[in-house]
């Protein structure tokens, strides 16, 4: 019996082609896939179908560059054995299914609410009265931080259980940023509205999320993407990585009170985001990525400006980083702080930098390449200590790598495709999946259409969904004063998680 259908990144298939398994087989099949290290779950969600719930599980096979999709149809009042019991990385997906549809799990370790979405199953569970995990002890005390934090940063609540200065446990409660974005994808019928929504999933990852959306949309519409579009998207993804990584280095310096580094990396980010403004009129690249068209074709002249920008950026960046990494007062704060081991990162299904910092090869640019990535032959940058310093080094090396990639791309700027191929409407009863590697890590969008070709379900997964737990684990046994630094070194998304 066929247990799954194997598809490629950005492929759409008929919904009927996804095998429907009995729940027990569905569970056994997917959890056994995860016994192999080259498999990980990129998305797992439910959507209502015929008064039941259709569960769809998407497992990426990193060796074969495929995604294995299977499904199961269950009753809405089910109590089920959990995937999480077999592999912890499913915890976030099953908690979401529980929160949204009330499905119960008999052996899930903790069905902690994810985001208190407006359409959640249990309206009595509220963010205001969420019961945090407690340990009874005379020696321990609790520290609550947030939802509003000291800096200009999105809201989320952190509850520490400490022994003196030492963190024993950190519980993170998110959901404050919930805007109901997935539902809006169904309600807003215009493509432009949906594109604006995609740009707003996480405003620091505009290119990442919008590229996932347009690739998915074009796949549903059977649109053949021209070289010029692929060029712009690939280049913009790498430019976004450079911009945010540079800003993160500045923020890390700031959190260890290293003023010079903070100021220099901070100002180095400015010309990069200004380049987006020169290219498309917006410093965060809003307006740049559009399905089926390119409002801002990339020109030779832009290419020269970008090369000139790198000429000035690179020496200053390298000089600053060289000084930064020799200072004992810097290294003392970064090294061996906030460690996540390789085993931990595997077990929670960490993605992006948060996986690569611990030596896990996980990068969509290599394993499921889209747009022009196949021709870049990407090799992920890996570090092995899983500490703040590893996350810092990854950023520095990825910045230089991205500059190289952009220089390679610029050798061959494609002509604007003027054939003006029209974007058709999406095919009916289809399923599509799109993966991109944003600067934070793997972004996954899935869509299902109904018999009229309208979107019936839209599912977004930001890399932060997996990685927030990495932050919680990293601070255990660290000084509480190191928490801001650890948090910054992950720089996870609140709104991308809360949707």
């Amino acid at each position: 019996m066929i247990k799954h259908i194997s598809i490629k990144n950005n492929q759409s298939i008929s919904l009927h082609d996804i095998p429907v398994l009995k729940y027990d087989d569905f569970l056994a099949h997917n959890t056994s896939l995860l016994k192999e290290e080259h498999h990980h779950c990129v998305n797992y969600f439910g959507f209502p179908q015929e008064r039941k719930l259709r569960l769809i599980c998407c497992i990426a096979n990193d060796n074969e560059h495929t995604i294995l999709v299977s499904s199961s149809l269950i009753n809405l009042d089910s109590t089920l054995p959990s995937f999480t019991h077999h592999h912890l990385s499913f915890h976030i997906f099953e908690r979401e299914i529980h929160e949204n549809y009330g499905i119960r799990y008999s052996d899930h370790p903790w069905l902690k609410p994810i985001r208190f979405s407006h359409d959640r199953y249990d309206r009595n569970s509220k963010i205001e009265n969420y019961p945090f995990y407690k340990i009874d002890s005379e020696e321990l005390h609790e520290v609550g931080v947030g939802p509003i934090h000291a800096g200009i940063i999105e809201p989320g609540h952190f509850r520490f259980i400490c022994n003196g200065e030492q963190i024993i446990h950190l519980e993170i409660q998110l959901g404050f940023q919930h805007r109901g974005i997935e539902k809006l994808f169904l309600e807003k019928k215009k493509l432009l509205q949906r594109t604006i929504l995609a740009e707003s999933i996480a405003g620091d990852t505009v290119v990442g999320h919008t590229t996932a959306f347009v690739n998915l949309w074009e796949s549903l519409c059977g649109f053949k993407v021209g070289n010029d579009l692929m060029f712009s998207r690939t280049l913009a993804l790498e430019l976004e990585r450079i911009a945010i990584h540079t800003g993160d280095l500045s923020a890390i310096c700031n959190d260890i009170a290293y003023q010079l580094g903070s100021a220099v990396f901070g100002r180095l980010r400015t010309p990069v985001i200004n380049f987006f403004q020169i290219w498309c009129g917006n410093r965060m690249a809003k307006g740049l990525v559009r399905a089926g068209k390119n409002n801002f074709p990339f020109s030779k002249e832009l290419g020269n400006r970008l090369l000139h920008l790198f000429e000035q950026y690179e020496p200053d960046f390298k000089e600053m980083y060289a000084e930064f990494k020799t200072l004992p007062s810097v290294l003392a704060r970064l090294e061996k702080t906030g460690i996540v081991t390789k085993e931990q990162a595997y077990s929670i299904g960490a993605v992006g930098m948060s996986a690569r910092m611990s030596g896990i090869v996980r990068d969509i640019r290599m394993t499921h390449p889209h747009d022009l990535y196949p021709q870049l032959h990407h090799k992920p940058i890996l570090k092995h200590h899983g500490d703040v310093y590893s996350r810092t080094q990854i950023r520095k090396e990825e910045i230089l790598q991205s500059i190289d990639y952009i220089k390679t791309l610029l050798k061959n700027i494609p002509e604007e495709d003027k054939s003006s191929q029209k974007l058709k409407s999406p095919s009916a009863n289809a399923f599509a999946i799109s993966l991109t590697e944003g600067w934070r890590g793997e972004i996954c969008h899935c869509a299902i259409t109904d018999e009229k070709g309208e979107i019936a379900h839209y599912k977004i997964k930001d890399p932060s969904m997996h990685n927030w737990l990495a932050l919680a684990l990293s601070v255990r046994n660290n000084e509480i004063s190191d928490f801001p630094l650890c948090n910054k070194s992950f720089n996870l998304s609140y709104c991308g998680h809360d949707l």
């Binding site: 800096g151 405003g203 410093r283």
Partner: protein, 251 residues
């Protein structure tokens, strides 16, 4: 030490000397101009706009709703043009609406500025930022206001950690239901007199999220808003310029 001086030297001058006369690079979408001598299918533009920012008879764009996607200007390039004029903040909601034929700067209405604002805050203004469903783009730009390029601190304007040290609140995002209560608590903790600034289209009108059931915008009905700063995200210059006008540093 020597290394540090070398690094400092290599940075050159990064700050923008005069923020009021600065030019933004590139094709920034700031204040639009709608030409009245060009005929277009106005309904087409109304239908095109993702957030209902465009109205017809006469054709107008509400910058409090506009997400600056630029699509209307692509559809009718002769009719609608976005200029690089970043001075688009106002304290009067009505003034954010640009009508056919308008080509004058958007300014604050001096009559509506409370007297105590320039008296108390013209030399020093401390702000508390609250992101209430903001997507982190406006937040990044608000951070940028204080960096070495824009250096808002030179005017004594700063973001502070505690609401108790603040003279006002800067709200970003469409105000999610789950943030409604924390926002109120934060506002209540700020001592009087205090100001409210809405930064970004999402905060001003809800933007693309305007009719989402996951929002709770009741807070905005209770208080007078002192400054609206349109943008998606706001440009640091728009924000700084708006505040300077509000506290009376620019007339």
């Amino acid at each position: 030490m020597f290394e540090n001086i070398k690094i400092l030297f290599h940075q050159g001058k990064q700050y923008i000397p005069d923020l009021t006369t600065a030019k933004v690079p590139g094709i920034f979408r700031g204040r639009p101009i709608i030409h009245n001598d060009v005929q277009v299918d106005e309904q087409l533009l109304v239908d095109l706009c993702p957030t209902g920012a465009i109205q017809k008879n006469p054709l107008s764009i509400d910058l409090g709703k506009c997400v600056f996607c630029g699509e209307c200007a692509f559809a009718a390039p002769e009719k609608i043009k976005f200029t690089t004029d970043f001075k688009i903040s106002s304290n009067e909601r009505e003034r954010l609406i640009v009508r056919e034929g308008d080509d004058r700067p958007i300014q604050l209405n001096p009559q509506l500025i409370r007297k105590e604002i320039s008296r108390c805050f013209s030399g020093s203004l401390k702000l508390r930022q609250v992101s209430a469903g903001g997507d982190n783009s406006c937040e990044l730009e608000l951070n940028a206001c204080g960096n070495v390029n824009f250096d808002m601190g030179r005017f004594g304007i700063e973001f502070v950690a505690s609401p108790r040290h603040a003279d006002g609140i800067v709200i970003t995002g469409p105000i999610s239901e789950n943030m409604a209560e924390p926002l109120q608590i934060c506002y209540d903790a700020i001592p009087e007199p205090k100001i409210i600034i809405l930064a970004g289209t999402d905060a001003i009108s809800g933007g693309i999220f305007a009719d989402s059931p996951a929002l709770n915008r009741n807070f905005l009905n209770k208080y007078k808003i002192d400054l609206f700063v349109p943008g998606n995200p706001i440009h640091p210059l728009t924000f700084i310029h708006g505040i300077l006008e509000l506290i009376g540093r620019i007339k």
